[in-house]
């Protein structure tokens, strides 16, 4: 009888320790899973921003007009595309930045192929 009681007590104590250790480990693993999730989100956002930037750059190369390029390369609502003209460039050039939540994700420089008339 005493032996049974001591074994039950030991088992109970062991169970308590097991639950405590499991809770600590689970908290640590949840943190790791959260980091992985955030890394996945960042990767997805950069990918989407890159696609928008490429569309904007190709539109600017063809049109040479930032406003038209912005409408042609209309991306998803949460992204904002900024066209910053480059001063003193031999051809129309601008820096295209894609921003999400005030963080610049992608920035590329594009030069337009639109030029004035040239005489042979």
């Amino acid at each position: 009888m005493n032996n049974g009681r001591s074994k039950s007590g030991l088992f109970l104590i062991e169970l308590l320790v097991v639950i405590t250790v499991f809770a600590l480990c689970a908290a640590f693993c949840v943190r790791i899973f959260t980091s992985a999730y955030l890394a996945g989100i960042k990767s997805r956002d950069v990918s989407r921003a890159l696609n928008i930037a490429k569309s904007a750059a190709e539109a600017y190369k063809v049109t040479g007009d930032a406003a038209r390029s912005a409408s042609l390369a209309a991306g998803e609502d949460q992204f904002t595309v900024y066209f910053t003209p480059v001063e003193d460039a031999p051809v129309p050039t601008c820096v295209i930045s894609v921003v999400l939540d005030e963080e610049e994700l992608v920035s590329i420089t594009a030069a337009s192929r639109v030029r004035g008339e040239r005489n042979g």
């Binding site: 480990c25 693993c29 990767s43 950069v46 992608v106 042979g120």
Partner: protein, 141 residues
């Protein structure tokens, strides 16, 4: 002795198993997500580098089109010019570096009237493909 149910130590065994599984899955998940993030960033850098090279190529193209005599070097890039004797067209080619392994190859022709046509505008590797790499066995048929 026969009807004691779960013995002392069984909970610890289950704990060890659960902790191992959780930790391994968490680490695999994190590693995979980090690798994906690195790949995306490398891709973004490559795209930005390509458009830098493209911009440089546009500047060089503009100088070529506005020059009476095409110089041998424009903005640090060597310009190669050859003349097609049959059509009397100038074929001009130059390469703008994108990364250490890639370059933007531009080739254009200018006829006697000064009108230019772009023949090539493509990204290509700077190094030749090596078929002597035999680290992995490949089935030859």
């Amino acid at each position: 002795m026969g009807k004691e149910g779960m013995g002392v130590g069984s909970a610890s065994l289950i704990l060890i198993f659960a902790v191992l599984c959780l930790t391994i899955f968490a680490l695999i998940s994190l590693t995979s997500a980090e690798n994906d993030k690195v790949l995306t960033e490398v891709n973004a850098e490559l795209v930005a580098a390509y458009y830098e090279a493209d911009t440089l190529a546009e500047y060089i193209l503009d100088e070529i089109l506005s020059a009476d005599v095409i110089p041998e070097t424009i903005r640090g890039i060597d310009i190669k010019e050859t003349v097609d004797f049959f059509t009397d067209e100038s074929i001009i080619a130059f390469r703008c570096p994108v990364t250490e392994e890639k370059e933007l190859y531009v080739q254009l022709s200018i006829d006697m009237f000064g009108y230019a046509e772009i023949l090539n505008w493509k990204m290509q590797d700077t190094q030749e493909w090596s078929d002597e790499d035999d680290k992995l066995p490949v089935w030859q048929g």
